[in-house]
């Protein structure tokens, strides 16, 4: 996993967030991805989202597996802890970290190979456990890092750079997540930051696992005529089903500038997500409707994007297991060790 240290230049005039940080403070090492790689745009959107949310960098943990996408955890928030684990296993490592310290903000970054092939099981089970984290799949339909083999999200008929045609049906992480009971499901496009940033911000505030599938073209191996994960295809077939604005806590909700119907969802921390329903009758709090819409789009050869489903009342892993509010890592040894008197009392049961 390569990275190059980026020189830190201070610009006194830069805008600061509530913590006094500039957007630059949310950047990381210099990317070593191919120029034009969709993943770099996702990184840029994340930098902006975290800056705007004024996340304290040292309270965030960037988690990833292996792949070009998974490398990007090095390219933002240099003052956050990062964990580049093993291929497809980011969800379990994040589950463990979250079990130990529930108060950190976990940003999990994965690829379509990482989450839909080798790590499909872990992806599904992290959703089932509803581990509180932002879970991004930077989806390019190929294994970028191993030079362009089809991944499990390549569409039927999609062609590889070498000219082979994919014949196996794709796994759609959005449909899968909806089926598995995910409490936050969205899809974005690396080329549409305006849409992506509010989704990322909402996901970071979500009280559970926020799954965001991001079409993120691989310019080197899968951005050509015939690829359904190319910039061209996505620009032409992207249908925004529900646009989201994210309004952090204690900020005035401005009246929407359009005359479209607006609905709002209040997040557990009091912040608010507003939806502009660009698609008539779409209700992002109705799982069945969300599923049906995504399927209907798929059949029309369209890619449904936007915040597709949200349930802010789902119990996260800690609520399910009824763990204490204090992160386990902050409990003192005295709170954990029952002591000799208790041991001796227990020993009577073994006599």
């Amino acid at each position: 996993m390569t990275s190059i240290t980026k020189p830190q230049v201070r610009h006194p005039g830069l805008k600061k967030n509530a913590l006094g940080f500039t957007q630059r403070d949310y950047e990381g090492a210099m990317s070593t991805l191919c120029a034009g790689c969709g993943h770099d745009s996702v990184t840029a959107a994340l930098v902006q989202a975290c800056f705007e949310l004024a996340l304290p960098p040292h309270r965030a943990a960037k988690m990833s597996g292996i792949g070009c996408s998974s490398k990007t955890t090095a390219y933002f928030m240099r003052d956050s802890h990062g964990f580049n684990s093993v291929h497809g296993r980011m969800p379990s490592v994040t589950t463990g970290a979250n079990a130990a310290n529930r108060d950190l903000t976990y940003i999990g970054i994965s690829g379509d190979g990482d989450s839909l092939s080798i790590g499909l099981g872990q992806f599904c089970h992290a959703i089932r456990r509803n581990v509180r984290m932002l879970y991004l799949i930077e989806n390019n339909g190929v294994y970028g890092l191993t030079k362009g083999q089809f991944s499990a999200s390549a569409d039927v008929g999609s062609t590889s750079k070498k000219g082979e045609t994919n014949v196996q049906p794709p796994i759609d992480p959005v449909l899968l997540a909806l089926t598995l009971g995910a409490t936050f499901v969205a899809r974005g496009f690396s080329g549409d930051k305006a849409q992506l940033i509010p989704i990322l911000k909402a996901g970071l505030s979500h009280n559970g696992l926020a799954m965001v599938d991001i079409i993120s073209p691989c310019v080197t191996f899968n951005d050509h005529e015939g690829s359904t994960k190319s910039y061209k295809f996505t620009r032409e077939h992207d249908v925004e089903i529900s646009a989201a604005d994210f309004v952090p806590l204690r900020r005035e909700i401005k009246a929407p500038g359009t005359n479209e119907a607006i609905s709002t969802v209040t997040m557990h921390d009091g912040s608010v997500v507003r939806f502009r329903k660009t698609h008539e009758g779409y209700d992002p709090t109705n799982r069945e409707a969300a599923y049906a819409h995504v399927r209907a789009c798929q059949q029309r050869d369209e890619v449904a994007t936007g915040l597709l489903f949200i349930d802010e009342h789902g119990a996260d892993m800690h609520a399910v297991w009824k763990t204490v509010a204090t992160p386990l890592v902050d409990l003192t040894y005295e709170q954990l060790c029952p002591g000799d008197a208790a041991l001796q009392a227990l020993m009577e049961k073994y006599r």
Partner: protein
């Protein structure tokens, strides 16, 4: 064997019929009579309907290894009659259910056959098929109480404790015990020549299985995250951890849990959860058996190279592959010591009984934190699942966990550039920082090549600097892990090396060998890596035997690889059929290898026959 407080008996039953609880009742009653006792459950890998055996050994001398011979066999499973009859020692007894006639070909010369119509008695006295099946176990327990002169007051007391909340069951069980007892008393001469007599030898002892003890160790070590995937014979470890946590770790004011136990989707995930939690700063563990260890390999290498503490309990069972899931073995030694690809080496602890499972479990967490690395505790099915008599567990309330070099927020405040893998103190251990503690401690964990600062590298020197330090750290660990237990006797020419659950049988074998005129020193390996005393012991004997429970002499290989002692200078004594080791198999292997100690002197006569 065979005498007062020195004999063994077996219950041959069918699993799923409730015999497990009556068998442990018998064992506990003997224990409460103050007599040293061990129980070995030999069970099949299914839920109901297959043969299962429970062997109880009574030993006034405190021997706890599996008995070699049965003085008495209770045969209640027609499908194993033939085997059961054959397993009675010459001059021993067979007790069968005479509700049905015993087939003539099962009658054996030289043993005494006792028949009691257990089934018929249950039909006459109790209602309902299920009740009758369950109580048949209690009826034969009553008969055994008479044959072995068990203290009926103790038995009655135990039933009262067990069924204190179920009056109906208590009455039925009391009646069943008495039925068996009275029948035996009135039809046979009781007690048998070998039987029980009150002693005072179990006062500071308990009866516990290794998995419960290891789980208790995890509680006392302060572990808060446990991740697992069910597998025999390790499952009961997490079950025990769960119940201890419910008891000891429930926040009094809120009823909320001061622990998080996650049944993962597989062992890969369980390992990942333990490592993620270890990275985030808690004490975390996973428990599994061989197949799970195989699945965890990639993660173990990650934790080794990125230096994250986590404890792995391997309750070994018979391999390879699925093998025999309900049989014991010590065949994961090599795969634990060098788990994962690349140059990897790990700390492995080898508890020899439940008592040591408790203390070594605590030790494992300390070592994992201090050396920032995965630590394995290599137990096995025999230790983990069987009931062992051992010393009452003690806890020193002044104990505080050794969290190793873990920087606090205050310490990090003054750190300007944190370098995760810098050997600042020259001992091979770099200080770590936990996520969320302080911005200055932020760093990037990567399983890919990194230099001492934690930065990505493909530079040969920078890479080697880190892995060479890991090797130094490992050498230091050799001096910090539990030292071998060494017993020396003046004039011993033979050295015996063993580990783990073989201990009890080897100790007994050494006594028997001495009776035969063979004097042996003994070294019990308690941990990997090995320190200098291990090689010194290997060099100090003309003949050295290595006793272990696997086919390929894995401990011998580890000793050869790591100490340089030539492999062929160590004679392997191998027992790998899946049953707990017996003293006799060690005695015959060792004595068979040696020139008879008496051949040069007066032949034969001086040789004592084993008692």
């Amino acid at each position: 064997m065979s005498g007062v407080n020195d004999f063994a008996f077996r219950m041959a039953t069918v699993n799923g019929t409730g015999s497990a609880s009556s068998n442990s009742l018998l064992m506990q009653a003997i224990f409460r009579m103050g007599i040293p006792v061990t129980g070995k459950n030999i069970f099949p890998s299914n839920i109901q309907g297959l043969p299962t055996f429970y062997d109880i050994r009574v030993s006034k001398d405190g021997y706890t290894a599996r008995p070699q011979e049965m003085d008495l066999v209770v045969t209640l499973n027609p499908s194993t009659y033939a085997k059961d009859v054959a397993s009675v020692r010459k001059g021993g007894y067979l007790l069968y259910d005479s509700s049905w006639p015993l087939e003539p070909d099962l009658v054996r010369e030289g043993i005494t056959i006792l028949g009691i119509p257990f089934g018929k008695m249950c039909v006459e006295n109790f209602e309902g098929d299920r009740n009758r099946t369950l109580l048949r176990n209690i009826v034969y327990s009553g008969a055994l109480a008479a044959f072995l002169s068990m203290d009926m007051e103790v038995v009655g007391q135990m039933l009262t404790e067990k069924f204190s909340k179920k009056k109906g069951l208590l009455d039925a069980n009391r009646r069943a015990i008495q039925l068996g007892f009275d029948y035996a008393k009135s039809h046979f001469e009781c007690p048998l020549p070998f039987h029980l007599d009150h002693m005072d030898a179990t006062g500071d002892s308990i009866i516990i299985d290794g998995n419960s003890a290891a789980a208790l160790g995890a509680v006392y070590a302060g572990a808060t995250v446990g991740a697992w995937y069910p597998i025999t014979p390790s499952t009961s470890l997490m079950e025990a951890f769960t119940s201890f946590c419910k008891k000891f770790r429930t926040e009094p004011e809120t009823g909320l849990a001061r622990y998080c136990i996650i049944q993962a989707e597989d062992e890969l995930s369980a390992a990942g959860i333990a490592i993620g939690a270890g990275w985030a700063g808690v004490r975390a563990f996973t428990n599994t058996s061989g197949p799970g260890i195989s699945l965890m390999q990639e993660f173990v290498g990650l934790a080794y190279y990125t230096e994250i503490p986590a404890v792995f309990f391997d309750i070994q069972r018979t391999g390879p592959s699925t093998g025999m899931p309900t049989r014991t073995q010590q065949a994961d030694l090599m795969s634990l010591a060098y788990a994962s690809h690349g140059d990897t080496k790990h700390i492995v602890l080898f508890p020899c009984n439940p008592e040591e499972c408790f203390y070594m479990s605590v030790k494992a967490f300390d070592l994992a934190d201090r050396f920032q690395t995965p630590v394995f505790v290599a137990s096995d099915l025999d230790i983990g699942m069987n009931d062992w008599m051992c010393k009452r567990l003690q806890w020193d309330d002044s104990f505080r966990p050794d969290r190793g070099k873990c920087l606090t927020a205050d310490e990090l405040e003054s750190v300007m550039k944190f370098s995760r893998y810098l050997d600042a103190e020259g001992d091979g251990i770099a200080a770590r920082s936990l996520p969320g503690v302080h911005g200055h401690g932020a760093y990037f964990v990567r399983g890919s090549g990194h230099d001492k600062h934690g930065t990505y590298t493909e530079d040969a020197d920078a890479y080697q600097e880190v892995v060479d330090r890991l090797a130094r750290k490992f050498r230091l660990a050799a001096t910090a892990v539990p030292a071998p237990e060494i017993h020396t006797v003046p004039g011993a020419e033979v050295g015996i090396v063993s580990l783990g659950g073989c201990h009890a049988a080897v100790l007994e074998a050494i006594d028997r060998l001495r009776d035969m005129g063979i004097v042996a020193d003994y070294m019990r390996i308690r941990a990997f890596p090995f320190d200098a005393p291990v090689r010194a012991f290997l060099d100090s004997h003309a003949v050295t035997f290595v006793v272990e429970q696997n086919r390929d002499a894995q401990l011998r290989s580890l000793l050869a690889i790591e100490t340089g002692k030539p492999r062929d200078e160590m004679i392997p004594v191998l027992d790998y059929g899946g049953m707990p080791l017996t003293a006799m198999s060690v005695v015959s292997a060792v004595s068979g290898h040696l020139p008879r100690p008496d051949t040069k002197r007066s032949p034969r006569k001086k040789r004592k026959v084993p008692a």
